[in-house]
Symmetry: C2
Subunit: 329 residues, 2 copies
């Protein structure tokens, strides 16, 4: 029999799609299963539950060479909270599982949890349980339950042709930091080792006006693609409008790389990408200012492109360019 | 500074205790956080949510040499469902995270999910989300949300002196199978590669009469110890009453080991241990028969012992005797 590698069917998202379709989803309380930042589950007449889970593996999501234990714990919380905030919700409870190498020291665990609790307390999140086991590498998993008012729920599939695409903050800093670390060149690595979710109140403010929303975990290109795939639309991204962080720009200069590539294909910036009707941009700015217009949702037939002022380019699929270099195993 | 290993402070449970105490738990909706099979969270006037998470690591919880992909998927579901059933509840939704080696084949994933979905559907459980990442070893994490009627909730801390301790089914089969596999001796390994949770209806029937309840994931000795620690009691286990499975007995004979040790210190039998008032045993037997009286809850000062008809022995702490042999890493 011919053995098929997962990469050959189109990677992780194609795999999840394939596996998900095999389950009969006949539970009317499941508003949204696999295919968004969180699952959405009926809670009561006014609100839904949000459920999200994320696994962080040593040497894939963090390196013990570069992260303090506190930073690892903090990153675990921030990246999960970002999935809840990106749907207009707020986190409530979390459960953590860990696989620890036998050599793990108590001081490391104390510091890891200091990072977890400090980050959690910013968001009013309580860690209510967990599971500890052993393994050769450090693996951490956090599952969060959050809540969202029904009218504030924003999903990937809510974009419509004509919507303006916006992004909060500045992009590319996390990948810029990672590239510096991988190449052993000094520079500003803060955005890589200290990623932060947007605040709950910011997600809620945007959700009052936005249609589709998603967080930047895999790079702007990948996130706009997700919105388009789920909404059945096309899009154009105005490359020159992409807000680049100063740390991304200086890392790119040091390494003779493109900070736009960090933003588009790097990921882990945990900013929010959202689509909005043009007339709602002004009202949103009255409540929340830190965002930039970076593109437009088009009809599906128009495809998905980047426009640099002169030409149209297709969006490359790859955030794999910028991943940690895996050790051979 | 002196570095302290986790094993030196008393292992996993002492670690969790230490880490948990540092979080201020001021959420009145958290009925029970860390310290039971599930967290218990207020749902409505009639019921609570149950939340549990379990991580399975290759070569720690399963070996690809001995488990089919379907069996791995099934074990992931069964051991998590057992945590819900042991509190008198029923599972509703689950989210899965996975770290996959780069070499993972599509056929493997299809079979793994076949096992996950088949086991889930037995319990009416829907998988509503997940996260896929990469790593050198296969790591799987399942988080389940379940529900329990308030009056059916059974926790570890509900035992009282005078209660009778009972266990469902037969014990030792999983560890017997593992010992045969580790030693390369043929025999009945089914209980190791195909562990099964007790049924939801059985957990509910027992919870009508039981006081404290827990599932056997770490061995009977460890589970009775958990009940005693959480309830503030002592206990005696009548060794000769412990129901041993035929596969545990035959494995122990082949290996010149003790099937009682498999039952007491082996784990992963996923039977239910519960305490009950003596007068309620008869009424419970009318509804559910498959259990055995194996001990009695005592005052705390009496300690925690095993009685073999002649003498009292202290309960050893160790299920570590019977763990997978870790590769050097």
């Amino acid at each position: 029999m011919v053995k098929v590698k997962i990469s050959e069917i189109g990677g992780e998202f194609a795999l999840i799609q394939r596996l998900t379709e095999r389950q009969r989803m006949d539970d009317p309380r499941v508003i949204k299963g696999v295919g968004d930042d969180c699952a959405v589950l009926v809670r009561d007449e006014e609100s839904h539950w949000l459920l999200t889970t994320d696994m962080m593996v040593e040497n894939d999501h963090f390196s013990l060479k570069w992260f303090t234990p506190q930073q690892i714990g903090k990153k675990l919380v921030e990246c999960n909270v970002s999935d809840i905030v990106s749907m207009g919700g707020r986190p409530i409870w979390g459960v953590i599982s860990m696989s620890l190498p036998q050599s793990t020291e108590l001081e490391f665990m104390d510091d890891l949890y200091e990072g977890i609790y400090r980050a959690s307390s910013k968001y009013g999140l309580k860690i209510v349980g967990g599971d500890t086991t052993h393994g050769s590498r450090l693996v951490l998993n956090l599952t969060l339950i959050g809540e969202v008012k029904r009218e504030k729920l924003r999903c990937r599939d809510m974009a419509e042709p004509g919507d303006i695409i916006c992004v909060t903050g500045k992009l590319g800093g996390s990948t810029g930091g990672l590239r510096l670390l991988l190449k052993g060149i000094s520079g500003d690595i803060d955005k890589h080792v200290n990623p932060v979710s947007r605040k709950i109140e910011e997600g809620e403010a945007i959700s009052k006006y936005a249609k589709a929303m998603i967080d930047v975990s895999d790079g702007l290109g990948s996130e706009v693609r997700h919105i388009c795939e789920e909404s059945g639309t096309g899009a154009v991204i105005f490359k020159n409008n992409i807000p680049l962080s100063t740390s991304a720009l200086s890392a790119a200069e040091s390494l003779s790389e493109s900070a736009y590539d960090y933003a588009l294909y790097g990921g882990e910036d945990f900013e929010l990408v959202f689509t909005i009707s043009e007339e709602d941009i002004g009202p949103l700015r009255m409540e929340f200012k830190d965002f930039t217009v970076i593109g437009k949702i088009l009809e599906k037939e128009k495809g998905l492109h980047i426009e640099d002022g002169e030409r149209l380019f297709p969006i490359e699929s790859g955030f794999d360019h910028f991943k940690y270099e895996h050790e051979n195993t």
